[in-house]
């Protein structure tokens, strides 16, 4: 557990350094995540070391949102004053995002399947002249 925390914090720190030094728009922990992902792709021996603690940490991920969520009390008056644009923007954009992602992904999967089929059909024809 301590080992995994040390590894995660090292990746986070390196991510913060990259983000700060190169003035990247991406937050440090996200760069740390990308670096750890690349590391795992190149060398997955690290996976068995960190998998247990990493999944324990992610299992309680929703607890970690609570302190930030309580911040709503600081913004109560803002939300009260702007509740209509906020609610309409949240509901419509969430529906639009689900629909757009699903329709585009479905269309592209169908398209690559349709492109594969004629190729397979012609391949079998060539094998049996």
């Amino acid at each position: 557990m301590l080992q995994t925390f040390a590894i995660l914090l090292v990746f986070q720190s390196v991510g913060e350094v990259f983000s700060f030094a190169l003035k990247l728009p991406v937050p440090g922990p996200v760069i740390g995540m990308i670096l750890l992902f690349c590391w795992l792709v190149l060398d997955n021996r690290l996976l068995s070391v960190i998998q247990g603690t990493a999944s324990d940490l992610l299992r309680h991920l929703s607890l970690l949102f609570v302190p930030a969520g309580v911040g709503i009390m600081v913004h109560a008056s803002r939300i009260e004053g702007e509740w209509m644009p906020i609610v309409i923007a949240l509901v419509l954009s969430t529906w639009l995002a689900i629909a757009a992602t699903a329709l585009v992904t479905q269309f592209l999967i169908g398209k690559s399947a349709r492109e594969d089929e004629p190729r397979k059909a012609s391949a079998t024809q060539e094998e049996q002249p």
Partner: protein, 240 residues
Amino acid sequence: MTPRLNEIWVYLAATPLLGLTATLVAYVFAYRIYERARFSPLANPVMIAVALLVTALTVTGTPYKTYFDGAQFVHFLLGPATVALAVPLYLQLPKLRKHALPLLGGLLVGSLVAAVSAVTIAWALGATRETVLSLAPKSVTIPIAMGVAEKIGGLPSLTAVLVMATGIIGAVSATTLLNLLRIRDYSVRGFATGVAAHGIGTARAFQVSEEAGAFAALGMGMNGVVTAILVPMLATWVPH
């Protein structure tokens, strides 16, 4: 007796112990309710824990800053937890490779639609600039969304609230919406829910099907990266 109690309260309220303890107790209690409600998305444990804590802080007249002095130890763990998201993402690698291009296409369109539509609608309806900027990263998991909001001049704690609301809206309505659109493939259904409604959507997808859940986790992780890169670029276009 009463002055004594007051003294104890003043002493405790000044240490980080109280904020930290209250956070954990409220969460454990909220999670019990969530279990009792058979994991209904409407009984979201974060929402309940936040409601309990806001009530307690308001009743005792404790300012958010005093609470956060203790709760920051929990908050700090969001950083390493974000790094740890690389692990489930890596475990989806074979699926990621198989449908890489269609997923990438859907992801880019979905990620853009989520941010651009939220910003445009809120701006058109007269929301203030800070609110509009805080809405931009609302479709991704909280640690990433808060980091992005901070970078682009939004209010991270407002973003956290908006992210949670987005997740709950997505988790409650995804099934009906995807049925209406006649999307039958569970991998596509899950992926769209993860892209639009992050972890709360992913939790919901796992309850529907294992395959939907795996692709939702993938969508959540990928949109985290894409939003962290795209939104700061797009944010420069939001008028002052």
